[in-house]
């Protein structure tokens, strides 16, 4: 069972039952899940978590859906690697990569969608839907297939091929919208109002977003129930960023971190900050769509919407719904935000691939280039523990790095091969 006591408006605090709702009727603020932490703290333990499945559902006590029979294609429990080579390049002795590009549908979205899909089944929906720039569509279609549900995915018509195919293969109804970004948005919110579908990021949003907390739990567990000194996270809506912070703070408040005293959650559970959580939260966006970074850099509490124009399409959200909450987390954690110049997105992809053997998509290129900036500027100290979150897979955005293909063209003879090899060696000397 899930330990959910209801929903609560993030702006005015009004309470709602735990149903398929996402905005407050009164002030139209976003609703967030309220947990019965008193009961959770009685049952949850390290042993109980380690005895659970090797997926996000090992943390089911802290998720808003029941772990008894989840829609699970084994999202989560992805590798946390010590990045020695990349660390050496950047002058960091304690650098780790959370490689979330190896989820079942190849992005971290499987975490949020597994929770949303489980909740959709629980609420009795027959169709699950989303509006996506790619990764979410792949994940929704995959989880729908697993649950035996119908899926409808809305995508902009100019999406990367790897994402279109990576979603279409699971058999959704795919709607490619021919229009500006804002028009796609407006259409989808209207569709959401008019069809009795579980839109994972609209009417399922309060539950959906909670899935990202597991990115915080897992890193802490994999580090031996410790938290990092720094994390670097790519942001679009800013939701994942805020939820990783929430995940760390929940673990601390529940006494699940080594040497940390439990603490009670206040009435606004969603913004609780345990003093032992000293992780600095660093946000990465690409320059062509960096509304949250701009607001942080300008010292504003408002996020001014932008029209996205970036190679990092998965991060191209011009009016981030969680932007102001993410700003608060940056400030509260004494973190930072950095906009990566567009050409450095591809450089980041290559740097990670060449040093650690991990092929990430453009969002990961943004993360690695931001990490490089943080290391070079001294924001991350040489011996501090830093974790960079790699949230999507390079096979989905191959267009971005096509120029790496440059094979030796040879005839099937030894002499031809050796000649070509020498030629290449001469060039690279």
């Amino acid at each position: 069972m899930a330990f959910v006591s209801g929903l609560r408006c993030r702006e005015c605090g009004r309470e709602y039952p735990g149903e398929a709702l996402n905005v407050c009727d009164f002030c139209f603020g976003p609703l967030e899940v309220v947990y019965d932490y008193a009961t959770i703290s009685e049952v949850v333990s390290h042993d109980r978590i380690s005895a659970g499945p090797l997926s996000i559902w090992r943390y089911h006590d802290l998720l808003p859906a029941s772990g008894d029979d989840p829609v699970d294609i084994m999202a989560g429990f992805t590798p946390l690697l010590k990045a020695r080579n990349l660390g050496k390049r950047l002058g960091l002795n304690n650098l780790y990569i959370k490689n979330d590009s190896v989820n079942p549908s190849y992005s971290f979205k499987d975490r949020v969608v597994s929770v949303a899909a489980t909740k959709s089944v629980e609420f009795g929906f027959e169709t699950i839907a989303c509006a996506s720039t790619g990764n979410l569509a792949c994940s929704v279609a995959a989880h729908a297939a697993r649950a035996g549900m119908r899926s409808v995915v809305f995508i902009p018509s100019d999406l990367e091929r790897g994402k279109v195919i990576g979603a279409a293969v699971y058999g959704p109804t795919m709607v490619a919208v021919d229009g500006t970004y804002d028009e796609v948005n407006r259409l989808c919110s209207e569709v959401g109002d008019n069809y009795p579908w579980a839109f994972v990021n609209i009417n399922m949003r309060p539950y959906y977003a909670e899935g990202s907390k597991t990115l915080g739990y897992e890193v802490a567990e994999q580090l031996g129930w410790r938290i990092p000194d720094h994390v670097v996270i790519p942001s679009a809506s800013g939701a994942m960023f805020t939820k990783i912070w929430k995940g760390f703070n929940e673990l601390a408040c529940l006494g699940l971190l080594d040497g940390v005293e439990a603490m009670t959650f206040g009435p606004d559970q969603n913004t609780v900050h345990h003093p032992a959580i000293t992780t600095k939260m660093h946000m990465a966006q690409a320059e062509g769509c960096s509304p949250i970074v701009n607001a942080w850099a300008g010292g504003q509490s408002h996020v001014r919407p932008v029209r996205p124009d970036s190679i990092a399409k998965s991060l191209a959200i011009g009016n981030p719904a969680d932007g102001i909450y993410a700003l608060r987390v940056i400030n509260e954690s004494d973190g930072s935000a950095y906009a990566v110049p567009e050409p450095q997105v591809v450089e980041g992809i290559k740097l990670l691939a060449e040093t650690e053997g991990i092929f990430t998509e453009t969002a990961g290129g943004v993360t690695i280039s931001a990490l490089k900036h943080l290391a070079e500027s001294g924001a991350i100290g040489r011996d501090e523990l830093a974790v960079a979150y790699i949230t999507g897979n390079g096979l989905k955005t191959q267009e971005a790095v096509e120029e790496v293909v440059n094979p030796l063209l040879v005839k099937p003879t030894m002499s031809s091969f050796e000649e070509a090899l020498e030629g290449r060696a001469a060039v690279s000397q």
Partner: protein
């Protein structure tokens, strides 16, 4: 009849314009403000519009044409 929840974002030069007043006056729409925050250089208003579907459409088109940004109330619904 239709009903739509929207967020308007105003740049500095439009903050002083009575856009919402004009929206109610020039279109057959009832406007109902739920939350707002107006700063020196940027303002936003979250509101509900009541009226015929076509009239809401026309009204929002006019608002966009003034340079005000119109978004669904929960922010961007397009996700990575």
């Amino acid at each position: 009849m239709g009903r739509q929840r929207v967020k308007f974002t105003f740049e500095a030069e439009l903050v002083k314009e009575p856009i919402i007043y004009m929206l109610g006056r020039d279109f057959h729409l009832v406007t109902n403000i739920r939350r707002a925050d107006v700063g020196e250089t940027l303002g936003w208003v979250v509101l509900e519009l009541d009226g015929e579907k076509e009239e809401i459409e026309r009204g929002l088109q006019w608002v966009s044409s003034t340079g005000v940004r119109v978004d669904p109330v929960s922010g961007d619904v397009l996700q990575g």
